[in-house]
């Protein structure tokens, strides 16, 4: 069996004579690109956290000078006291950095790049140079966005959602250059996402190893595949919207300006048509990786693998039909409110199916609570809360009350932090050995996990109660309102919990950086997992395999009766009863 076109431009796996620059800086190796995304995105995650800490200072201790506030310019923090114009910038840039430059690249930029070729059994992505370009574009976009913090007037002040007409009118928002940078950065980031997605989709469709049929792919790969389809179709709409906004800001167009016939709601429709699929981009890869880790930690096959695949597809498909649920109170036609309510409630069903299947996987398992499994289990527990809280806002009459209150803030943080970020806290130590050849510290991972779990819930659960009270979002000083004054102690409590939560993340960062250099050397398959990546050395070499492996079974054959001496059975291990896959010379088009 020849693997011809794969050899056409395949690097030799056994010797590597590339220069340092080609190996580590301008690398086309998907693994290096994934690691580059990891380092850059962790920086933005930290930055997003720093912005949040400042917000929480103001909310917990309104009007008091912030420690370190003296470092800020007077126009942002007079005498160290955060000013309203700076507060709304903090709110907007926290969301922007976290969504676009932390969570999305951590899940997709890192793991789609790192895992896909390894898990489907190929040497690299279909288009390695375009892949490299996608990283550098994302970095350029990130630098532009970062620069916006330092220009006169600073970054945007209209929320990460940047609603028009406020965002289109510098005279009303107070931000000129920051808005331009936001728009340009988003357009470039969209390009990065599309380039990456073209790679992920093509590679998964065309480059799977012999025997790696669709229904033998790990759920992490399925999730990344479906996510890539979402990205390819959603990001361009955001790019379009950002360009229209940029034109309104600069060349005098009137897309969102009602005075000249434009429509303010047009921005919202365009933004959320992208924005809702975007949040599924932010959760599906997390769910996929959690599935891999829960099966591994349970030593059992995933319960209901096919249902899980269909649930991913259903969530992605339905995700296109729910965008209006962000706009129930926007003034759009109320009949649309009814239809979006129905589609939104329906999307709860495949998510519920996934939760039950994870539980089914753990049921009667032989549970090993390594750090990734701890975090993956917490993902399930926290995602459920986030998902259930979504039902309140899906019910439009209730949304009338809780829209734009802290109830929404609680929901989004339960799914994005309790969900996506815990999944990352599981995934990072899990694939760290394959990336770097070392293990992260189990002990400090456990300390980090427990402290994070406690402080995270103390920070975000009370926000549901603030929402119940009618506490609005993005409010610089809640004590202006008599009905919110009684909740100030709770705001203070949340802020202190948040500070402790942030401090705890230093444990993770130190563990990560220390382990890069001094972590225990990793064996080939430290977690006794079945995926193809674990059949390679730790770290995986350039080009991955000399010869692509052959796959004989699905990815979750744990505790299989076929083997008695161990509780795992790798996908590419040939057993006496296995046949070779069917001939690979397939019909032409």
């Amino acid at each position: 069996m020849t693997s011809v076109a794969a050899t056409a431009r395949v690097p030799h796996a056994h010797h590597d004579d590339r220069s340092f620059i080609r190996k580590y800086i301008f690398s086309t190796d998907h693994k290096i690109i994934g690691i580059q995304f990891l380092f850059v995105s962790l920086f933005f995650l930290l930055l997003g956290g720093v912005l949040a800490m400042q917000m929480r200072w103001q909310l917990g201790f309104p009007g008091k000078p912030m420690p370190g506030g003296g470092l800020l310019p007077e126009s942002m923090a007079a005498g160290g006291v955060i000013l309203p114009e700076y507060y709304v910038q903090l709110v907007s840039m926290h969301g922007t950095f976290m969504v676009f430059f932390a969570i999305m690249p951590l899940l997709v930029g890192v793991y789609a790049n790192f895992l896909i070729p390894l898990k489907i059994g190929t040497h690299d992505m279909a288009f390695p140079r375009i892949n490299m370009a996608s990283f550098w574009a994302a970095l350029a976009a990130g630098l532009l966005m970062f620069a916006s913090l330092f220009v006169p007037e600073g970054g945007i002040r209209s929320g990460w959602t940047n609603y028009a007409p406020l965002s289109a009118r510098p005279d009303l928002s107070g931000v000129t250059i920051g808005e331009l940078l936001w728009c340009v950065s988003i357009v470039i980031l969209g390009l990065s996402s599309v380039m990456g997605s073209v790679n992920y989709i093509t590679t998964i469709i065309n480059h799977r190893a012999p025997g790696m049929t669709w229904f033998r792919m790990p759920l992490s790969v399925w999730a990344l595949f479906i996510t890539a389809i979402l990205a390819v179709l959603a990001l361009p709409v955001l790019q379009g919207a950002a360009i229209l906004l940029l034109f309104d800001q600069t060349i005098g167009t009137h897309f969102f300006d009602p005075v000249a016939g434009g429509q303010a709601l047009l921005w919202q429709h365009l933004f959320w048509f992208f924005g809702h699929p975007e949040v599924y981009i932010l959760i599906l890869p997390a769910m996929g990786m959690v599935s891999d880790i829960v099966a591994n930690g349970s030593r059992k096959p995933i319960f209901g693998y096919h249902s899980m695949v269909f649930a991913i597809i259903a969530i992605a498909f339905l995700g296109w039909l729910v965008w209006g649920h962000h706009m129930f109170m926007s003034g759009m036609n109320p009949t649309l409110g009814s239809s979006f309510m129905v589609s939104t409630l329906v999307i709860a069903v495949p998510s519920a199916v996934k939760v039950f299947n994870w539980m089914g996987t753990m049921w009667r398992g032989n549970l090993r609570f390594h750090v990734p499994m701890l975090n993956a289990t917490a993902f399930v527990a926290m995602f459920v809360i986030g998902g259930l809280s979504g039902i309140y806002m899906a019910a439009t009459p209730v949304d009338m009350f809780i829209h734009d209150t802290y109830f929404i803030v609680a929901h989004l943080h339960y799914v994005l932090f309790g969900g996506s970020l815990f999944a990352l806290f599981a995934a990072i130590p899990y694939w760290f050995p394959k990336m770097f050849g070392r293990m992260m510290s189990e002990r400090w991972g456990k300390v980090h996990f427990w402290l994070t779990f406690v402080f995270y819930n103390l920070t975000f659960f009370p926000m549901h109660i603030l929402g119940n009270a009618g506490h609005m979002r993005r409010i610089y000083d809640p004590t202006q309102y008599d009905f919110l004054k009684p909740y100030q102690p709770m705001n203070e409590f949340i802020s202190i919990s948040a500070f402790l939560l942030f401090a705890t993340q230093l444990i993770f960062f130190v563990n990560f950086w220390y382990s890069l250099f001094k972590g225990k050397k990793a064996p080939q398959n430290p977690w006794e997992d079945n995926g193809l990546e674990w059949s390679l050395p730790s770290p995986a070499p350039h080009g991955n395999w000399e010869r692509v492996p052959t796959v004989y079974r699905g990815p979750y054959e744990f505790s299989s009766p076929e083997v008695s001496d161990r509780d795992y059975l790798p996908q590419n291990e040939k057993r006496p009863t296995d046949r070779e896959p069917a001939s690979t010379t397939a019909p032409s088009h």
Binding site: P84, G174, M329, L345, F356, P397, F401, G470
Partner: protein, 223 residues
Amino acid sequence: MHWWLPLKGSTFAGDIDGLFLAILIITGIAFVVVEAGLIWFVIKYRQRPGRKAFYTHGNARAEVIWTTIPAVTMVALGLISNHYWVRIKGRNSVPANAYPIAIHAKQFEWQVTYPGADGQLGTPDDFTVRNQLHVPVGRPVVVHLSSEDVIHSFFVPVFRVKQDAVPGMDIKAWFQATVPGQYELGCAELCGMGHYRMRAQVFVHTPEEYDAWMKQAAEEAKP
């Protein structure tokens, strides 16, 4: 500090709070089942020497059950919610005899225009007050929302009413207050750096008080 929703100050507060409670019960059951289940599994199925996991790929019947029950629940919830939604926000939901008040939102205040003695907006006896919404109890009120500049949002927690005010659009939002008293209104859509102080006071008067207030306010508003 109050842990639950605010005082029920309008005719739809009961409906909305009731729906909220129903959802709390449904989601509460789901929450307990899942979290207790997870805790139970984590303890009961933890790794111990000599244990082996149960090798299975799933159970089709379980899949059907745990797909159908949530689906049926969600559909039922949707139908019930829609009933209230149409009543509160539907095209024909505004009662015919609703008392009209115009609210023009701008950075960063609420300009409230009252119809005056003739009860009609757009006539010479209309008068405008800043940041004060006075309404009579027990009578439907329809707010005609408009915006001067950016998107704001009219939000009175005790009435449970929220409606965005969008430049270029005239949007109606109605409610009927049930409890006399003094409350607050906040802006619920980020509208600029003064968003946090775009606050108004809301007064729900008995009919006599309302007439008295109206006369006095109309006098004060005369140029």
